[in-house]
Amino acid sequence: MFRKILIANRGEIAVRVIRACRELGIPAVAVFSEVDREARHVRLSDEAYGIGKAPAAQSYLNIERILDTAERCGADAVHPGYGFLSENAKFAEACADRGIKFIGPPASAVRAMGIKTRAREIMSAAGVPVVPGALTATARPSEAAAIAHELGYPVMLKAAAGGGGKGMRLVGGPGELAGAWAQAREEARKAFGDPAVYVERAIVRPRHVEVQILADEYGTTVHLGERECSLQRRHQKVLEESPSPLVERRPEIRGRLYDAAIAAARAVSYANAGTIEFLMDEEHRFYFLEMNTRLQVEHPVTELVTGIDMVRQQIRIAAGKRLEFSQEDVQPRGHAIECRIYAEDPRLGFMPSPGFIRRMSMPDGPGVRVDLGANEGWTVPIEYDPLIAKLCTWAGTRQEAIARLRAALRETSVEGIATTIDLFRALVEDAQFQAGDVDTEFLERELPSTLARLPEASGSARLAAMLACVKWTKEQAGSKTVRPARAGSRWGRVGRRSMLGDWSRDE
């Protein structure tokens, strides 16, 4: 086993990996940028070292600095978490060059799956269904138009090097194609340094279903069941569950789905943890979307139903151990749901809301798992992704897991910044969500009516709130200065605004 593991990440996932290391008896080393000195992952680590300034390029993406730190503190393995360097083949290779084990798949698998057109070719050859369309990028708009015509509109233009929603355009008809093609290329060039774009048939109202796999370095590959992640905003997941409510209703799909996932992993000689993402159309046909060659944000729902600690398995596999269980040992139990608590305001189109966390309380008790990446009295930095906590519930059935989630959300609060907590409070009351009947466009389509489902306040609670505010105001009048909230106003007056750029690829 490893002597010491450096975690090249921050926030809740760094905390998650620290715990797995500690349970294996391996000291866990955190790294931090200047603004993260007091961050939760730093507080909970065994050792922590500064690696540079706030912008990620100068710290969490600084390969040399990270590997120097690993050498200096005697770490013989690095866990990349998700995002940042986790799907960077160069980083995996740089680790190998220094004799440090990269806890993840072989660089070749990372590279093969990183180029979407290449991945489509490999999957196609392995018999894994891909969305109908081109296997290679199109060099000219006329070529794209010909493919689109053959596929039938609507079609989707996608960046070959892409992911995370960037360089993607939905094209409804032939008239829109040329303009969309130019825009997608420009966006892809900016985001990935590669303008290549290819054409796929657009799946209408798709559902996102993915299969978790684990493979050891001796060719043994098992799946840990599926997850459904159809609740998204900006092509980014917001709520995930396992098992998929759709697959539960159509169990005949399940075997084929798992077989496809295992075939996909084998096709790139995969080792360690990975996820094969599929889109499912309205006729319940599924198509390979992409493979994430790393730990996923939503891995806890799989852990809750299977009882298997995935990060522990990742570390064991990287240390050259064989899988300690077989496919038959994987026996899912019950249902789990994860809510991503983002520092974003769902009422303002998921506008970021970094800032000072004045007060925070998270639920505990039966069937509740929280993976917290922030602390009360800490300032959520403006530089990184907005995930501050994950709230999961588990119960024997999906209906009970939702009831438990509703109860847990009642106990969840973050004061000082806007978060997605209220969105989840509204979602658990939504009939379509309760029925498990949502697609990846549901959230953006139905958000206003969903948010309107927030529970009403009782008159007694409102009166108590009013009395407390009168009392607070009197107390302040007694003292000298009234300090305004430190940061992160959700009430700032703005003109209309829209999202321009988008998330970089970290889920």
């Binding site: 520092a343 970021p352 992704d385 007694s460 108590a464 407390a468 106003s489 703005v494 209309r496 970089s504």
Partner: protein
């Protein structure tokens, strides 16, 4: 007894408080308030307890949380009523403010330039996402308060449209 005017989530309320009682909507109830920490109160209304957390004001409103509910409450000081009303009316009409802390990555307009409703003015980046701040109505750019690279706090004025 003292009288208070409050605006709760945009709705007006009158509240009369006295020792151990309060009245609103013509109904009187017994009350008891105990402080339970910085901004924390245990409020008993007609024997029923509520735990309320009060956050300092933003844009003149307090945030009060109790039992998973959030209220925006402005306690209006009677002596300042006309001023507050005037202020409320004047605020925000032509000003474009930063909705969150971040960094200005682009300024898309110049002073004196005429803009249409919905036209992009300034791009602010936070948490790896770029947000374009747009004009709420057409007019002329009276002033631009920021330059690319400037850090901004929530509520900072970015530009004014006259």
């Amino acid at each position: 007894m003292s009288d208070h005017k409050l605006v709760v989530d945009g709705q007006n309320f009158s509240l009369r408080t006295g020792p151990g009682v309060c009245a609103t909507d013509g109904r009187q109830v017994t009350t008891d308030i105990a402080r339970a920490g910085d901004g924390l109160y245990s409020v008993i209304v007609d024997g029923r307890q509520h735990f309320v957390s009060v956050s300092p004001p933003c844009d003149g409103s307090l945030t009060a949380c109790t039992a998973g509910l959030t209220f925006r409450i402005a306690v209006v000081d009677p002596r300042q009523l006309p001023a507050a009303a005037a202020n409320a009316g004047s605020e925000g009409v032509g000003q474009v403010r930063a909705p969150m802390p971040g960094k200005v990555v682009a300024v898309l307009v110049k002073e004196g330039q005429s803009v249409k409703s919905g036209q992009g003015l300034v791009v602010v980046e936070a948490m790896k996402m770029q947000n374009e701040m747009r004009a709420a109505s057409g007019g002329t750019v009276a002033s631009v308060a920021v330059r690319p690279g400037d850090p901004v706090a929530a509520g900072d004025i970015l530009a004014s449209i006259a």
